[in-house]
Point group: C2
Chain length 512, copies 2
């Protein structure tokens, strides 16, 4: 077998069974190997931002890395923004990046660039295979890194793909890392027993249904509060689950909430920090004198740590307080954020997946959707827009039996609208809801936030995307996805009901 | 004035009068300054690949850099692929990249990344302004670099934008570089007088109408041949101009052509090298024993060098041979590449601009279009697809009185289709012709070229984009551009005639 085939076989044997791809000439032997190797599903994206975002969504839903197949430096460059988001979400990905044949690189042909340098800012592992015999081993090393929730970038010169290789390589099992630090549990118990106002700030694996249930017991027993980060990779939500708030994005809303705490106990979370800096506002959001303690970091077993903490504290299931839940009633009339939130809460089906890049429109989505059917809620961890259509695509590939609802602002959706085509091609069960406010609405607030005064006409032109109006039904149709524009809450409810009732991709343009 | 305003004023005073932008929070003070400073046209793109490609097109048509405005690392990342193409075209660009406030960077907020590392592979100049007082001076330094046809990336932490600055900075005039090397002219003259088969291989500024006219005299006088590189940033073409061929992309076609030469004289061009390596084919295309001489490099004055060479050789205007030209007759029937080429040749208006990313469909476009009305022909220098819609956008901003015809394959056009929206918003005079062969057609040839055998079904799935069919008329409509699908040569001619007759953006889908 050649190097490319040795890699494909190594990937499959290593549990990497999906490859999101946009290949070119230097990747043709990898593509050819797909015909000879069983077990690798290759999904084409018409732009690499779709490819990398889909791999992020796939990892979040399965905990297993997908591969991407990218065409030299520019193909990688196009993937970088969503790789940035994936890196911040601790989503493991194996990037396979084609390169010129080893002997061709120095001739500076048009596509030549410094691929390693491009890969490094977003990757925990960067390696260029020197020869065909090394490809399988390098691929196995990349898989090992990606399994840990990191980005691994393997660069494959064309001759290492087409020359003869020895065979496949085994992925070395991960060293059994510390599951959690018992001393951190003791410290957290001491703080919580102390009775001073305390916040359990959680993200990552702590936000599973079981992690949240344990946190509810601890909160009920000790009186601490529990919150999520502003953004989280995946949160179990809906009826019967412990509904927690997140730290607000807006600093002036976050500060008074955090002001009340003397202790913050971090469960995989970061010390709360402002998304951006603003003149005369703090970067760190905790109050003066607040002590920060860490229960677990990423990579540790947060659920086990919470279990241990609940045990030490004697927090039992009955300690969890009953959850007040908003009543869900079909909205009517204008498409206000509240009406939209209610319509979405009513539409989310049991075991649904919500990928949320609703930015401004969605700031009030949490209270009503806490009363929706049980679901998972995915958010953008890196702040690079164009996140949710690709991530929804990858989540749907990962979970063919679950409905995916992709919530996205029109400005964000334009970044990676090519995702719709992949959804149509693969008949993925994704309902995309585009909030067409025809603005980079968030920037209107930010403009004031950075004390830039009131925008004049030229500045406003950079914040508005209303001229011409984007017609999302036509854009969807152009890529083979059925779309529908809605102008009232009733129409939105009807469109969501119809979309959820049938499998396959749909788009709903919410004209605001 | 604050740092952002000092930069905008420095840019305008330094001749940078257009900014292609997709700003975010950290760039709001730059946006706000637009309201206070006259002379800067800010053009919004809904994806940064549009922004950087447009700046490339603007430089090619004006010889002056535009600015881009990009949102932190991910905004830059999205721009990189077309920055790669611009770098390879020696198109100067001033990238203004927002960054977190200096004191906020270390908190690792979601959008934090190593921006300098991302910028470096595509940039000749990378600098992060340390404070507001430095911004104008750093901006002036960036302009000086960009004027030389290089990419300059200036990173602007938010507090350097909003803090008080001293004022604007002057751009230092460029050192008067060598216009060309007289000894290189003597050497070229000696070779050409020697009478051995010689090729004048030209690109860059040599491909102006006057440069080509001088080359025609030299060829007529000495019997040398004149060719262009496979790809060139801009070539003056059409009736009354010296029509030259380019080195074919396909190695097996290039080798026999180059085989005949004992000397290659490079006028800004590179020693001919294969676009990709293939098993058992050479990377360097010149024959054994062929001597390569350099008349000029990029940055030297090639037209002056050709003038001097013609002078030394005594090559006069009457030495230029009359040009045989293909007769242009309206095509009919099927949309073959030849029929399409003829239709385009008939449609190109006087002083038109053709931006060519037609890949496979366009390989035969040169002979008929040599007989078209005089025009400029722009090509992709870096091989990263999604090039021509943004470059056409920037060329139209640069030259509002000239019709721009954008030729693009459907696979390429999907990368940066957001360009159509900017064309609609700015009412740019661009006719986009999409060749809808519903394949990455080039890869079918490349698959065989790298000796990967015959593709099976899974491999073919990675080369075809026909499921679902892209509907370009709907995609254009979705972004406010009138589109039309054509199924015959007659329909194509009619659509082109209509599009050329009226200003404003149009799209023609050529269904192949």
């Amino acid at each position: 077998m050649n190097g490319a085939e040795s890699l494909v076989r190594t990937l499959v044997q290593g549990g990497v069974e999906v490859c999101f791809a946009n290949p070119g000439t230097s990747e043709m032997h990898f593509v050819a190997a797909l015909d000879r190797v069983e077990g690798m599903r290759c999904v084409l994206g018409l732009f690499e931002g779709v490819v990398s975002g889909a791999a992020d969504g796939y990892f979040r839903m399965t905990g297993r890395p997908a591969a991407t197949l990218l065409h030299l430096g520019p193909g990688l460059a196009n993937a970088l923004a969503n790789l940035h988001n994936a890196k911040k979400a601790n989503s493991g990905i194996v990037n396979i990046i084609g390169q010129h044949a080893t002997y061709h690189i120095d001739y500076n042909a048009p596509l030549t660039s410094d691929i390693e340098a491009l890969a490094r800012p977003m990757s925990a592992f960067v390696r260029t295979s020197p020869d065909a015999e090394s490809v399988a081993r390098d691929g196995a090393a990349a898989i090992a890194v990606a399994r840990q929730g990191q980005i691994a970038s393997l660069i494959l010169p064309a001759d290492t793909a087409w020359n003869q290789a020895d065979g496949i390589a085994e992925v070395e099992p991960a060293e059994a890392g510390a599951s959690y630090a018992p001393r951190a549990v003791e410290e957290a118990a001491r703080v919580l027993r102390g009775g001073e106002p305390a916040l359990l700030l959680m993200t990552g694996s702590a936000l599973s249904a079981h992690g949240l249930e344990l946190a509810a017991r601890i909160a009920g027993k000790t009186g601490c509060q529990v919150m999520g980060q502003t953004y989280n990779p995946l949160m179990a939500r809906g009826r019967g689950r412990f509904a927690i708030d997140r730290i607000p994005y807006v600093i002036d809303q976050a500060l008074p909430i955090l002001q009340q705490f003397r202790h913050i106990i971090l469960v995989e979370a970061s010390d709360p920090v402002a998304f951006f800096a603003y003149p005369n506002k703090p970067s760190l959001l905790k109050p003066n004198g607040c002590q920060v303690h860490r229960l677990t970091a990423h990579g540790e077993r947060s659920v086990a740590a919470l279990e241990a903490l609940a045990g030490v504290l004697g927090a039992k299931p009955h300690d969890a307080q009953p959850q007040p839940q908003m009543a869900l009633t079909p909205p009517s009339g204008a498409l206000t954020p509240a009406a939209i939130a209610m319509a979405i809460a009513l539409a989310i089906p049991d075991n649904g997946i919500v990928v949320d890049e609703s930015i401004t429109t969605g700031r009030g989505f949490f209270p009503p959707t806490a009363a929706a059917a049980p679901h998972d809620w995915l958010q953008n961890m890196g702040g690079s827009i164009g996140f949710s259509p690709p991530v929804a695509t990858g989540a749907a590939v990962a979970c063919p039996d679950r409905k995916v609802i992709c919530l996205v602002g029109d400005g964000s959706a334009m970044y990676t609208l090519q995702s719709l085509w992949t959804q149509a091609r693969e008949r993925l069960d994704v309902t995309t809801v585009v909030f067409a406010n025809r603005n980079y609405q968030i920037l209107r607030g930010e403009f004031a936030g950075v004390e830039a005064g009131a925008p004049g006409q030229r500045a406003l032109d950079m914040l508005s995307i209303d001229r011409p109006t984007l017609d999302w039904v036509s854009l969807a149709k152009g890529m083979g996805v059925e779309g529908r524009a809605v102008h009232s809450a009733e129409q939105l409810c009807a469109a969501l009901t119809a979309a959820v009732a049938e499998p396959g991709p749909r788009l709903i343009e919410v004209v605001m």
